[in-house]
Structures are given as structure tokens and as C-alpha cells.
């Protein structure tokens, strides 16, 4: 059994990311269960996807303390879902902060470095991806979700391979966005390997 959580901000494409993971796992013959935040929170609120892979899973929600991996699209959102991570779980983080309008207004914005320091102290396996660099290389913010999956697959957290994930991308994405997403996927993989 493998539990993976995706956390981010509405509009970052977390729903598609979780669908791709689920579809790839099914290609490998696993059963899956996922659940999403859909609705008002999709307008810039906190969104979380739960993906559970394997047989004999009842709850679509991952119980606290049982996520094998978390893919976080934003540092503060990573900290928010930390209670779900297993003691030896992996956290993959894109380090670009998305400042909520509310904190821009009040001026008491959080410091990204505080979030990352905290994560460094509490996560055994933390993979930090430089979001600015990733965006520059991918050239399109809409493909960062797929790029992060590239990073995730290289970190070895999934019970399926590159091939299944790539097939899932081809299956689920519309033809006209395919190429740019496959390129971003490769870039995400390269970034993990330090290229």
C-alpha cells in the first residue's frame, strides 16, 4: 500500500496531478482510491488531494501520520499537511511561495525560509525543487504540476515506473498540450538528478 498526498493552492493543477498518479498506478495493475478538493477552494484556497494505491483500502482520505509521500506545490501548504506524513516519509517541495492576498493586505506575510527550515528539521527525506528555476526551464506555469511528477518519480516514491506515468500523461492530457507537458515532465526528472 502507498499513500501519497498532494498539497497546494487552488489553480496549481493538483487535481490533474493526482489523476495522473492514479492512472499510472492502475496501468501497473493496482487499485486506487483518491479524493480531491473541488469547489470554492479552487479559487486560490488550500487544496489537498489524497491518493491511495493498493488493495484493501477503505477510506479515500489518508489517515493522519500515514502518507508515504507528500508532493507540495507551496512551502506553507507543505507545513500545513505535515501531520499526515509518516515518520520516515518523503516530502517533495516546490519552494515558490504563493502569498495569499490576505497576507499581502495585512503585511504580515510569512517567510518562506521559516517554512523550509521547519521542514528540513522535521522531514527525513526532503527534496526541494527550485520553483523559479523550474518555471524558467518549463516556460509555462500550467505544466509545473506535471514537472513535479517527474521529480517525484525520480525520487522513487511510486510503485510504478516512468513508463506508466508517461502513458498516463498521454492518456489524460489533450493532444495540443501533450508535447509541452512531456517536455516539462523530463525537466522535472532532470531537476531531481541535479541537471
Amino acid at each position: 500500500m502507498m499513500n501519497c498526498m498532494i498539497a497546494g493552492v487552488g489553480g496549481q493543477g493538483t487535481v490533474l496531478a493526482s489523476k495522473l498518479i492514479a492512472a499510472a498506478a492502475m496501468r501497473k495493475g493496482f487499485d486506487v482510491r483518491t479524493t480531491e478538493t473541488i469547489g470554492m477552494a479552487q479559487r486560490g484556497g488550500c487544496v489537498v488531494s489524497h491518493v491511495r494505491i493498493g488493495s484493501n483500502i477503505s477510506s479515500p482520505l489518508i489517515p493522519l501520520g500515514s502518507a508515504d509521500a507528500i508532493i507540495a506545490f507551496e512551502p506553507a501548504e507543505a507545513v500545513r499537511v505535515m501531520p499526515y506524513l509518516k515518520e520516515a516519509g518523503v516530502l517533495i517541495l516546490m519552494d515558490t511561495a504563493v502569498k495569499p492576498v490576505a497576507s499581502s493586505l495585512t503585511g504580515d506575510s510569512y517567510r518562506t525560509s521559516d517554512m523550509i527550515d521547519y521542514l528540513k528539521e522535521h522531514v527525513e527525506r526532503l527534496v526541494v525543487i527550485n520553483g523559479q528555476q523550474l518555471l524558467t526551464r518549463c516556460g509555462n506555469a500550467k505544466t509545473l504540476n506535471v514537472a513535479l511528477l517527474g521529480t517525484a518519480i525520480e525520487s522513487g516514491i511510486f510503485p510504478f515506473g516512468n513508463k506508466e506515468l508517461e502513458e498516463a500523461i498521454k492518456e489524460l492530457l489533450p493532444q495540443r498540450f501533450l508535447e509541452i507537458n512531456l517536455t516539462s515532465f523530463e525537466i522535472g526528472r532532470d531537476m531531481y538528478n541535479g541537471n
Partner: protein
């Protein structure tokens, strides 16, 4: 056949298509929207699909179709059934010929709704059967059963998934299609005309049906009794999956009853109660199963303690989670749970409400050794470039210092209540902005009453409110925010756009023409991104009498291409934050004391340029 990854709502749609549904109607509403969309997307042309203008209309269209013997499905969210409750109540007396399933999605939490109402009550109130699936897999087959039962009893049935079933995906085993029955067609008969005399005889039949259904459902495969012992757990819906997750870790003896239907399967429940000392009922929303068990114990003089929401053992608001039910179950069974790891023990002590802060705004409490840094609140906001921001801002500026009240309505524009816009003083239900404003104005005629309404909401129930205001001579200003879509639920078409779910283009119904025909005293239209014109529209109507209408027209960014990007000139920007403080556009943030526009979010709507007094913001290519 093969397994397919399906979201609960897709499973319902595929299940209904498999069962031979031929007419599908509905009105969009989270978490139900994808059911109808999925049917439309996979329609080979043999199914008639429509977004109706509101839920009452949708239910009636489907009922008429079911009078012919066709299988029909209606989809809506829980509050939609409030709108459709009039036809629902009478339809049971009239009955249907073809199977008719009314899919009503409940939203425990609530995650995207204005109430936490429990549709199972509607089933009991209208004396209809309710099916309550616990997983997408179950929903896929259960919807076919729902059609069968509807035909067997000649009555519509309710099908009530909840958010965590609707928006969960699972691997679903796809089955062969069920052969369609021959269509008899509508046969003229007095049975289709409701009269008091008919109602009385039908009422007797309905009561008999309910008894029969209860027996029937005791043998239904969705209602399951397992285990043995002196303690029993009763559950249903998605809570069943949380209960199972917890029970995996126990060796304690117990019985487990899963209930998926109303009428309550009394016979099955009686064999569950047999030999029990106490019962814990785990369900979401209202204590429906719990009350049924209590009344059954009363009817049969059983001395069994029933624990649940009424006794404070299960929380009575918000959604359940594995954590929220784990504590009560462990306490109830008392023994047989293995030692848990320190980490998950900590997890258990967490109140489920706090757990939910992943969706809500408050930070989680310290539960690892060290307090995490304070987390930002992140309420949902209008998108960068949203035309509603421009409309609200124009009205706000133009009415500065006036004694005005701004009534809002349901849609993305409800988010206009957030700072810094702060332009939604009331919000109740679909269409109520216009009518609440009339009530406010009756008592406080010296205040200026604005009512904001979106285009889809205008067609849903907004028009009748305007008619009322004109007829009764109320002085209000209705601001119609026409963004050419139903945005909140993911951009569905509506009568103003002319596209239908069958892929046809029908004649567009012009909001301007409709409003003109209603005899309002004034109507002005403007592009909200043209701030000057938008403010002038307000100035033109604000000191007049009668029902005045401002029609702001600019498309939602989700259905239009942006018009470029704007930049802040770093040398000119003084860091005054006026742009941020006035607009709250998520694309603008402060960086090193200067405003900065995020190029990946900015759509080039231009309103920040108009706000910056020193001209530090300009279009990228200018």
C-alpha cells in the same frame, strides 16, 4: 470487463448510461456537476441531456419524460432540491412509469455549500426511497438498482452521494449494458392529473409501498450485516469506509451493519439488534440511522443503548474522517486494538475539526515536538483578472460615502465579500440578493440598496425577483454581473449563451432584452474593465427612483483569452500599496518594498493601471 479509474460522479453517470437512461437534466452545483457533464461527454446521441434553468424545471422535465416509460435522471446539489421540492412532493403521488432517479449530492463539511442539510430527510418527508452509496464502485452498480426499484414501485427515487463519494476516484469494474425496455409512450389516463381524491387513494398506496420497500431493502445487497458479539456498529455512506479503516486494527468482537437505503431495512436491523447490549451509530450530517434504530428499539421494547450524535459520541456537524470516528470506536469497543505508534497516537488526539484546517484557514496546532511556524490564512479569492473585481470596485468607488447596502448572491461573486473589496453584505441562497434588497429597502427606505446577481443566477431565480420589485414599485439597483458563463461550478453554459449540452446552438436569450421587457425604470450597460464607464453607469442610476439595472458585461477569465500583461515600473513605484489595498488582485504582491505583478497570473485586465495614481503600472507592450 476492464477496470476504469472513475470519479464517483463519473461512476454515477456511467452506471446510469449502463442502465439505459435516456433523458438527463440538472442544474450545476458542487459536488454534483460532473454527473451530467460526464453523460453529455460520452453521449452517443441516444440520450437527451440538458442543463435546465433551475432544479425545479429540471425535475419537471425529467418527470414528464418518465411519464412515457423512459428512464430519466436529474442531478443537483442538496440546496437545489429545496428549489425542486414542490414537484418532488407531488410527484410521488402521481408516480412515474419509467425509472426516475433524482441524484442529489450532499456536502458534509460543508466544503462548497451554504447548508449541511441531509437529503435523507427529504426522502422520508416526501415518502420516497433514498439510495446512499458509500464508494464510487458501489455508486456505479447502485444507480442501476435505483432505476429498477423506481420502476418496481412506480415512484421516483432519490440517490444521495456525498462529496467524498462524488469527488473520490476509484478503480471501477465496468459491466455490460443492461438491455433497454421497449418504450410504451405516454398513455392518456386520469392518473396523471392530481386531485384531492386521487391524492387520498395514492397516499394509502404510498404508505403500503413504504412498508413493502422496507422488507425489500432488508434483502438488498447494499444493506449488509456482518460479525457477531454484544456490541454493534451501524453506519452508512462514506462513513462506512472510515469505520472499516478503523476496524482493520481490532480483534474485538462486534457486529457491523451498513445501511444504504431509506426506507430503513427494519427486518435486517432487527437481526442486527438481536443480542446486542449497545450500538454505536457512525454517520454524517443528521442522525437518521440512529433515530431509526431508537424507534425500532421502542417498537420492539428492546433495551439497547444507542450511542451516536444524540448522545454526543459522534460529532454533529462537519464531515467525518478516519480520525474523527477512530476515537469513539476505540472507546466503544474498549479492547482489541493493538498498540499504536506514537505518531498515530498523536494523530488520534487531534480534533477532526483541526484536521480539516487543511481546507479551512486556521493553522494546525503543535503536534510534532516543535511548534510549526504560523501558517498563513488562505481563503478563496476572485481570480486575477476577474471581471467581478472590476465591477465591485467600480460600484464601491462610485458610491463612496453613500449610505448603501450591497446584497450578494451565489456564485464566484460571493467572494466579493473578502477584503479589500468588502462588497457583499448579505448572501442567502440562489436569487435572494434581489429580494433581500427589497426587504431591506422596505424598512430602511433612506438607504441605497444594491443587489448583485450573476448571469446564470439571473436565469435561475433572479428574474422573478426583478418582476416582484417592478410590480411592487421598490427602489433598488440590480447589478447584473454577466461573465458569459456559470463560473463557480466550472463554466457551464446557460440560456444567455445559446450553447446546449446536445452540442446545438439555440437562440441566445439577451439579458438586456429580458430586463427591458420587465419595465424597469432604467437600464445601463458597461464593460467593467472600462472603470470610467463603469463608474458613470452607477452615477447615472444611483439618485433615481424605481428598479434600475446596471448590466456589466465582460467574460470570466476561464472562458476568454487574457489581453496581455501589465508591469510595475520599479523606478516609479513608491511602494504605497494602493493597488493591493484597493483591488486585492492575487497577481500583485509586494517584493522588497515595491509592487510586483506575477506574469504567470496577470491577464492584463488593466484595472490596476487605473488605480495607480502615479502611473507606475502599464501594459507590457505599451
Amino acid at each position: 470487463m476492464a477496470k476504469k479509474l472513475l470519479m464517483g460522479n463519473e461512476a454515477i453517470a456511467f452506471g446510469a448510461m449502463r442502465a439505459g437512461v435516456s433523458v438527463v437534466t440538472g442544474y450545476p452545483g458542487t459536488p454534483s456537476t460532473e454527473v451530467l457533464e460526464t453523460v453529455a461527454k460520452h453521449n452517443d446521441g441516444s440520450i437527451y441531456v440538458e442543463w435546465s434553468v433551475n432544479e425545479k424545471v429540471a425535475l419537471e422535465v425529467a418527470a414528464g419524460a418518465a411519464y412515457t416509460g423512459a428512464r430519466t435522471m436529474v442531478t443537483m446539489k442538496q440546496v437545489g432540491l429545496n428549489v425542486a421540492s414542490d414537484p418532488l412532493m407531488s410527484l410521488n403521488y402521481i408516480g412515474v412509469k419509467g425509472g426516475m432517479v433524482i441524484v442529489v449530492a450532499d456536502d458534509p463539511g460543508p466544503i462548497s455549500s451554504q447548508t449541511e442539510q441531509d437529503t435523507r430527510h427529504f426522502g422520508k418527508f416526501a415518502k420516497l426511497a433514498v439510495f446512499d452509496p458509500s464508494t464510487p464502485e458501489e455508486a456505479y452498480t447502485m444507480i442501476a438498482d435505483a432505476f429498477d426499484y423506481s420502476e418496481k414501485y412506480g415512484a421516483p427515487v432519490l440517490f444521495r452521494p456525498t462529496t467524498r463519494v462524488c469527488h473520490s476516484c476509484a478503480s471501477v469494474e465496468m459491466l455490460d449494458n443492461i438491455p433497454k425496455k421497449e418504450l410504451e409512450g405516454f398513455v392518456k389516463d386520469s392518473r396523471w392529473v392530481i386531485f384531492p381524491k386521487l391524492t387520498y387513494t395514492k397516499h394509502i398506496k404510498i404508505e403500503n409501498n413504504l412498508k413493502e420497500m422496507s422488507d425489500d431493502f432488508s434483502g438488498y445487497e447494499g444493506n449488509v450485516l456482518t460479525g457477531s458479539g454484544r456490541k454493534g456498529i451501524a453506519t452508512g455512506g462514506v462513513s462506512h469506509s472510515y469505520v472499516c479503516e478503523v476496524l482493520k486494527n481490532t480483534s474485538a468482537e462486534h457486529k457491523l451493519l451498513k445501511v444504504s437505503t431509506i426506507p430503513f431495512p427494519q427486518k435486517l436491523a432487527l437481526s442486527f439488534l438481536q443480542g446486542l447490549d449497545e450500538v454505536l451509530v457512525v454517520e454524517e450530517l443528521d442522525p437518521v440511522i440512529e433515530n431509526e434504530l431508537i424507534s425500532l428499539c421502542g417498537l420492539h421494547s428492546l433495551k439497547i443503548k444507542i450511542k451516536g450524535k444524540l448522545t454526543g459520541h459522534i460529532k454533529n456537524a462537519g464531515e467525518n474522517t478516519v480520525e474523527s470516528v477512530s476515537g469513539p470506536i476505540r472507546e466503544f469497543l474498549g479492547e482489541g486494538f493493538g498498540e499504536t505508534s506514537a505518531h498515530s497516537k498523536q494523530a488520534d488526539t487531534l480534533e477532526s475539526k483541526q484536521l480539516l484546517s487543511t481546507q479551512l484557514e486556521q493553522p494546525l496546532p503543535a503536534q510534532l515536538e516543535q511548534t510549526p511556524p504560523t501558517l498563513p490564512v488562505r481563503p478563496p479569492v476572485l481570480c486575477a483578472g476577474c471581471p467581478h473585481r472590476a465591477s465591485f470596485f467600480a460600484v464601491k468607488e462610485a458610491t463612496k460615502g453613500m449610505n448603501a447596502v450591497y446584497s450578494g448572491d451565489i456564485g464566484c461573486y460571493t467572494l466579493g465579500n473578502a477584503m479589500p473589496l468588502d462588497m457583499v453584505d448579505t448572501c442567502l441562497c440562489m436569487g435572494a440578493g434581489i429580494t433581500i434588497a427589497q426587504g431591506l429597502h422596505r424598512v430602511e427606505p433612506d438607504r441605497i440598496n444594491f443587489a448583485f446577481v450573476g448571469d446564470s443566477t439571473f436565469f435561475h431565480t433572479g428574474i422573478s425577483g426583478i418582476i416582484n420589485a417592478v410590480y411592487n414599485q421598490t427602489d433598488i439597483i440590480v447589478v447584473i454581473l454577466d461573465n458569459s458563463t456559470t463560473a463557480m461550478t466550472g463554466n457551464q453554459p446557460h440560456p444567455g449563451l445559446g450553447q446546449t449540452m446536445m452540442g446545438n446552438i439555440s437562440d441566445k436569450i439577451s439579458i438586456y432584452d429580458v430586463v427591458s421587457a420587465l419595465n424597469v425604470s432604467m437600464i445601463v450597460r458597461a464593460n467593467p474593465f472600462d472603470l470610467k464607464a463603469a463608474k458613470e453607469a452607477v452615477n447615472a442610476v444611483v439618485d433615481k427612483k424605481g428598479v434600475r439595472v446596471i448590466l456589466y458585461e465582460a467574460p470570466c477569465i476561464a472562458v476568454s483569452k487574457g489581453s496581455g500583461r501589465y508591469l510595475v515600473d520599479n523606478d516609479k513605484c513608491t511602494g504605497c500599496k494602493v493597488c493591493i489595498n484597493k483591488l486585492g488582485c492575487p497577481a500583485i504582491e509586494m517584493q522588497d518594498g515595491k509592487a510586483k505583478i506575477n506574469p504567470t497570473l496577470c491577464t492584463g485586465c488593466s484595472i490596476c493601471e487605473a488605480v495607480c495614481r502615479i502611473g507606475a503600472i502599464r501594459g507590457e507592450n505599451l
